[in-house]
């Protein structure tokens, strides 16, 4: 059956253009996200079945809870002691897999005092569902 092909070409053209646009926006946004601030404080994050441990630059350790201050940037060094986990603060779009034998990086800069959930987003066994913690953002004390 004879039919004209141009609507199909236009359609494919539109889809390709849309994909190029999505790709370009995503590329640009990800590039900015991956630009680590130089003065970021390093926090070592270790996942293990089934809790999170945090170690600040000054050596203080916290389990299950993480205290940070507004106005500072933090760089997480994420790893695991046993199986894969995924370190997640959903409210700040912080997500990075915790993989034994590797150290992955992700950063964030909290802007408002408050409490946020920390959770594990990669299946890690029996209590995966409750591998949760709290992020506590405070205004600088001084």
């Amino acid at each position: 059956m004879a039919h004209s092909a141009w609507p199909e070409w236009i359609y494919v053209g539109v889809v390709i253009a849309l994909m190029c646009w999505v790709g370009a926006e995503a590329w640009e946004a990800e590039r900015l996200v991956e630009h680590y601030p130089e003065d970021a404080h390093v926090i070592k994050v270790t996942g293990q079945q089934w809790f999170w441990t945090f170690e600040h630059e000054d050596g203080t350790k916290e389990i299950g809870e993480l205290h940070v201050e507004t106005g500072k940037a933090y760089k997480f060094e994420v790893t695991s002691k046993d199986v894969n986990h995924s370190f997640n603060i959903h409210d700040y779009v912080v997500l990075m897999d915790a993989i034994p034998g590797r150290v992955n990086h992700v950063w964030f800069a909290p802007d408002k005092a408050g409490e946020h959930d920390i959770q594990c987003r990669e299946y890690c066994g029996l209590i995966h569902y409750n591998m949760r913690g709290k992020l506590i953002v405070e205004d600088p004390s001084s």
Binding site: E8, M19, V22, E34, N84, D97, R102, N104, Q119, Y123
Partner: protein, 508 residues
């Protein structure tokens, strides 16, 4: 005329047969059995998540085993064998050959599946459908985990044998008068999906063996404690299983290519672009696997490469949608049950693809990855597109298999309920993901938004469950008592039903 269920034959005659329609019938019945088994697990999972706290499943381990076996069952024991059923029935007829190219191999490929299914169900492993190390090596309880590995190994062999058969049947056994450019699109869908399997599956087969020896402690490929790397497994797994998602979806699209023109009473808008889209998908599908791994710590460049690879496959999927819509445009559509399923499936295919594009855009994926968004995304494919296309096709081939008609009203009620249920479950799960609910969790904190969304999803699942009971009743009852089909044109759409059905291959 030879119709399977019209002339009763002893069951063993069908079981030991190598005739393509008999093997097709075995595939059909087995895959539907697993559809209901896997579906029952889904209902239990949804009931558990109706409220925070423990509901009907006593402990987290049982829950984890249930979603693992649910996913494994519906992908490997329903979707793939169902497609094989359709392929067995129709590919030889479409290429006008007397049987599959290797009938014995065909029967062997089928008979590998029940033992594999038994291993998976009797083991009831808990390490999710991708068995990620090191969890699967050092933490997952045996013998369930080992039984799952063996089960998958056998299924891999079965699908490789099946694929060889389809490729040879189509390429070598088609009627000499018929060029490849005349083979119906459904047969093309089997050709392309089988070729994908042949290229993709060996990688996973190797990874499974390595996983097994790692579990036995004789190697440490993926075990960091022995110098191995779990990320290597993720690459091997997704190198197989991203292309595999096209293996699942392509035959379902092929089935829609049979249904849509037939019930639009118009030839397909463009046969050529259907082929082009199949071939493109099967090639470009290999360039996107690590979009499942954005959060594993890949470099910016790696992520960009796989994002581009993923987006590059989208126009090919979109071509199919155009083809369907253009075929239905300005046509006299007959809204029989198969057509309703196909149209619903196309609508959900479109929504699923839109969600997939969001996953592919790397910064957005850090919001959606491993949340319920992803569960919603791929279920719009596996349920909304593939199961819808398959069930629509089952209604369509029903008169062909049984010589009788199903009950049309029940078929339509089945569709309407399933469609509403599917939207309720899987659109809602996208929203749940945006609220941050991780997937694969047995229990969740009582966050009001999470509770509401989970309840909508659970009610949707129950609606699907009820509709499936109606479906089962319809299939069983009508096979014996349905009104005899007018086999020339059972749906009253004009033209011949199917391929010259007198030409149906005699039993040998």
């Amino acid at each position: 005329m030879v119709l399977e269920l019209q002339k009763p034959r002893p069951i063993w005659q069908i079981m030991f047969s190598t005739h393509h329609t008999d093997v097709g019938l075995l595939y059909l019945i087995m895959s539907l059995g697993f559809l209901f088994l896997g579906g029952a697990l889904a209902l239990a999972i949804r009931a558990e998540l109706f409220l925070p706290g423990s509901q009907i499943i006593g402990d987290a381990m049982t829950f984890n085993r249930m979603f693992t076996v649910h996913g494994t069952t519906l992908i490997f024991l329903f979707i793939i064998p169902f497609a094989s059923a359709v392929g067995n029935y129709f590919v030889p007829i479409m290429v006008r050959y007397k049987d599959m190219a290797y009938p014995k191999l065909n029967a062997i490929a089928f008979w590998l599946i029940p033992p594999a299914g038994a291993l998976i169900w009797l083991g009831f492993a808990d390490f999710t459908w991708y068995a990620t190390p090191p969890y699967s090596i050092i933490s997952a309880p045996g013998p369930a985990a080992d039984m799952w590995i063996f089960g998958l190994k056998i299924l891999g062999i079965s699908s490789i044998l099946g694929s060889i058969n389809f490729v040879v049947t189509i390429m070598r056994c088609k009627h000499p008068d018929m060029s490849l450019g005349q083979v119906p699109l459904l047969a093309w869908s089997f050709l392309t999906s089988s070729l994908i399997i042949l290229v993709a599956m060996p990688t996973f087969a190797a990874a499974l063996l390595m996983l097994l020896t790692d579990r036995l402690g004789v190697s440490g490929f993926f075990n960091p404690a022995m110098g191995g790397d779990p990320i290597a497994y993720a690459h091997l797994f997704w190198f197989t299983f991203h292309p595999e998602v096209y293996v699942l979806v392509i035959p379902a699209i092929g089935m829609m290519y049979e249904i849509i023109p037939r019930f639009s009473r118009k030839p397909i808008h463009s046969y050529q672009s259907g082929i082009t889209a199949f071939v493109l998908l099967s090639i470009v599908g290999f360039s996107s696997w690590a979009h499942h791994m954005y959060a594993t710590g890949m470099s910016f460049t790696e992520k960009t490469v796989f994002m581009v690879g993923t987006l590059a496959a989208v126009p090919a999927s979109a071509l199919h949608v155009f083809n369907f819509v253009a075929t239905m445009w300005n046509s006299r559509i007959r809204f029989s049950t198969p057509m309703m399923w196909a149209i619903g499936g196309i609508a959900l295919f479109f929504s699923a693809g839109a969600g997939g594009v969001a996953n592919a855009a790397m910064p957005l994926d850090f919001t959606t990855h491993d949340t319920y968004w992803v569960v919603g995304h791929f279920h719009l494919f596996v349920m909304g597109t593939i199961a819808f296309g398959s069930i629509g096709y089952l209604y369509y081939m029903y008169p062909y298999v049984t010589g009788r008609m199903y009950n049309e009203t029940m078929g339509k009620v089945h569709f309407v309920m399933s469609f509403i249920g599917t939207v309720m479950v899987f659109f809602t799960q996208h929203v749940l993901g945006l609220y941050g609910m991780p997937r694969r969790i047995y229990d969740y904190p009582p966050i009001p938004e999470w509770i509401t969304m989970n309840q909508i999803a659970s009610i949707g699942a129950m609606i699907i469950g009820v509709s499936m009971a109606i479906f089962l009743a319809n299939m069983i009852y009508s096979a014996g008592k349905g009104k005899p089909a007018n086999i020339e044109d059972p749906f009253g759409v004009g033209g011949r039903y199917y391929y010259p059905f007198e030409a149906k291959n005699p039993h040998h």
